[in-house]
Symmetry: C2
């Protein structure tokens, strides 16, 4: 466990804000110890690759497109996780993907009077500090610069850790989470009318408060999901605050897998993808957020807030641009509450550009961006206009949960995370085929087998350089995009380190 | 095919409005021929039951709760469809469910210069009139009065027919639907600047207009979906227009199954449910729309339009009401972009009542209503306030499609439609079990077998009257709600009439 980030986050904590209702975010600070602080928005590759300057130059070469993986003899990723990446074929100066893999210790936040402070034991680790570990793998696919992806790869796990710090005791207590906690004195929020109330003295656990008849049960799992969701929001806020000083143009998609207390939480905001391959079966662990998949949310917002369209766009969807001479004809359209199509008479307002336009990889929102969730993009505007894109983007991930304890996993069961560079040219089934094929040719105990899978996935999506560019085995065009892949063995916990 | 509604809709058409961009809706008219016009909001049962006055009285008896089905020797429903219903145990004066089953002829709208008018044949039926039939089954579960459900049961299929009339040629033409149609002269919308344009003379089919490079393909199926979606909207508009004159208080959930050109389109707005049971396998054909399932849509609207909350509600969700003395404590909450839960410090604004509150069948929006899609409810307000509920409700259905031609169906494969009275006490698996059990005890050719299934489903959900009320076989409480069920054989088309 060489990559552990322990109490590093304690120093960072004060700079992150305390969540809704808490203190306003303080000024940003640098990353905690244990990680180098790269110069603002400098090109870099994931720290765990430990590239030498020469290797870094090679990784940055668009013509060779050498596949990068953790080298033999250097640090190994937790659970023998496989990783591989390759730079794009020239579409941007550097590889705008980033990756992170960490084991993070979540230390309970010191509290002057914790609601559970009188309880015994439960999570006392490492010399008396209460807390737990989570494992973390994440891919960030940047656009319009690598700054946002670099910063997110260095900080998102710290934000997740920060969100979990208040939950250390609650998550380790098998009883249902308390609906309400006592006054938070750190937040300085005491109500002067309530100081004499008995349940405010902190020693009395939540159970002493009379329960209401109508009270919704909330699971531990949904607290972790909420923590991850809010961590993405805090990460996005941090990029917003620091974008000027740290030079963070652009944005990034974010896909993170968190292993915590027997469960995988896969959080996705963007168009990367995660799938589990278990006994040959494919289990989707994410879905993509694009102008097409989020059409109704975007149209709904545009309908309610037409001023966001700057008189340039219509919230209706049309199958193509309308020409002025078509006024009065009937054209197919879709409104926000429709999944089907119908004809409408073309009016003056319909001549504006449609909010959502194009299909598949070419679908764009406001003719500008092809992903609708992610981090950053605070300054993104429609070309040659003052229309902001950010109000339509969401930084919130969808989190899917996979309970590792519900199934006996074999060494060939894996979770694959990949940026769209992988999935643009390879579907789930093909990926599963490669995974099974490669794993079969290595011993179950071979520490390199998951790296070999990751490399093979990257090579097969990149293709081979021929006269007519990068070509796949079937002679179709390979992916010219940055490609990054994690292959995480599900038999990991307890088996490998 | 005794229940056909043929050109009846022609007379109704002028009163329905011509869809987006068309004429504003004209004044309402009565229903077309072929159906009796009941007195406004009078209690009635579905016409196809052909109840005598004495039978009607019996159907309206809360103590006996006699199950009603089409009688032997009277009209049979298309495809030998089974139907059964029972009144509630006293929660409302009358049975507020309604049902409709029709075979509807969609006659092409006469056009002075149709875009396809020069083409031959294709759908010329019944003495030269161009058109096609669709089969239609629908359940309407009324609340706060039966008026909306009664009107919807009499008109929704006519609105669907009306929406399809412009599509008769397009749906019968195997080539992709045209993106754009020529000027619609009926709508009186000619642009004086465009009258000399060549493609405006109607004789030139759409293909003559140069196609754009970026043009989205739209399927025939999605045109039917769009037609059904807009028909629900027009139905809702009609209820709004006529609610004063026709005395239509309240609203209704609507679940409709349309069989058209080899496919079932199942449209659901509310908490009724449709499942297909095929070779013992259950295929869900709808999902329920409730404050819980639509939480994020409702919270999003409330966040963007806080004035709709009338200062009485907060868009945040809490697991229970907050007491004023809890100000400053931390409580679990969920915002519109979250699926998980997190703690926030309770502020003054959080003391307002949550927009969504309660769980399961007790979940309510604005403490008022437990369904979030349906028809009607235009006058519904939060109790003792001036806060309208309707802006949060959607009249748009979700439409799912099942292609009947993709599978060889046996006589035991059925589509079951049921109001929530059925599903509150019986799950999908139990329903599938009853279906298979009953069908097994009747010959495949027995014309009554689907009616027997419907009756058995209703009886098993209603239970038997004991000293402690209506009880199921397992002694749990039976459904005290109105219960209505259609059982539609999927081997229907071409096999039965």
């Amino acid at each position: 466990m060489l990559l552990r980030v322990r109490a590093a986050v304690a120093q960072l904590a004060a700079g992150l804000g305390a969540g809704p209702g808490g203190q306003p975010p303080a000024e940003p600070r640098g990353a905690g110890p244990g990680r180098g602080s790269p110069p603002p928005a400098a090109f870099s590759r994931p720290a765990f690759l430990q590239l030498t300057p020469e290797e870094l130059r090679r990784a940055d070469d668009h013509t060779g497109r050498a596949v990068q993986s953790p080298r033999d003899g250097r640090r190994r990723l937790p659970w023998r996780t496989g990783y591989a990446e390759v730079i794009n074929a020239g579409k941007s100066q550097h590889n705008e993907d980033q990756a992170c893999c960490e084991v993070v210790f979540v230390e309970q936040r010191p509290s002057p009077r914790g609601w559970l402070s009188s309880r015994e034991g439960g999570g006392e680790l490492d010399g008396g500090r209460k807390g737990f570990y989570f494992h973390y793998w994440a891919l960030f696919d940047g656009h319009a610069g690598s700054g946002a992806a670099v910063m997110a790869s260095e900080r998102l796990h710290l934000h997740i850790c920060e969100q979990l710090r208040d939950l250390v005791e609650i998550l380790q207590d098998p009883s249902p989470p308390p609906i309400c906690l006592p006054h938070d004195t750190r937040a300085g929020s005491a109500d002067p009318n309530q100081v004499s109330s008995t349940e405010d003295h902190g020693e009395v656990p939540n159970d002493a408060v009379p329960r209401f008849h109508l009270e919704k049960a909330v699971s531990h799992e949904s607290l972790v999901i909420g923590a991850i969701e809010n961590a993405f929001k805090h990460m996005d806020d941090q990029i917003e605050r620091e974008r000027a000083s740290q030079h963070l143009p652009g944005g990034c998609c974010a896909l993170a897998a968190i292993y915590l207390m027997g469960k995988f939480y896969v959080a996705n905001a963007g168009d990367s993808r995660a799938i589990i391959i278990r006994n040959g079966e494919i289990i989707p662990m994410s879905r993509e957020f694009t102008p097409e998949t989020e059409r109704q949310r975007l149209q709904f917002l545009a309908l309610l807030r037409p001023e966001l369209l700057g008189k340039e766009f219509t919230h209706l969807e049309f199958p193509r641009r309308i020409q002025p001479k078509e006024l009065g004809k009937k054209m197919l359209y879709r409104d926000q509450n429709m999944n089907g199509w119908a004809y409408k008479k073309i009016e003056e307002d319909d001549l504006k550009f449609p909010l959502i336009f194009g299909e598949g990889k070419k679908a764009r929102m406001m003719a500008t961006i092809g992903v609708t969730r992610g981090l950053g993009d605070h300054d993104l505007k429609v070309f040659s206009s003052n229309i902001h894109i950010k109000p339509f983007l969401s930084c919130f991930p969808e989190v899917r949960v996979y309970d590792l304890t519900q199934y006996e996993h074999c060494p060939d069961d894996v979770l694959v995370l990949g940026t769209d560079g992988l999935w643009d040219v390879t579907n789930d089934k093909e990926v599963a085929g490669v995974v099974m094929e490669v794993l079969m040719s290595y011993e179950p105990n071979d520490p390199c087998r998951y790296t070999m899978v990751a490399q093979e996935l990257v090579v097969r999506s990149r293709g081979v350089l021929k006269e007519r560019g990068w070509r796949l085995a079937n002679d179709k065009l390979g992916s010219g995009d940055d490609i990054s892949v994690f292959v995480i063995p599900l038999g990991g916990p307890g088996n490998y380190t």
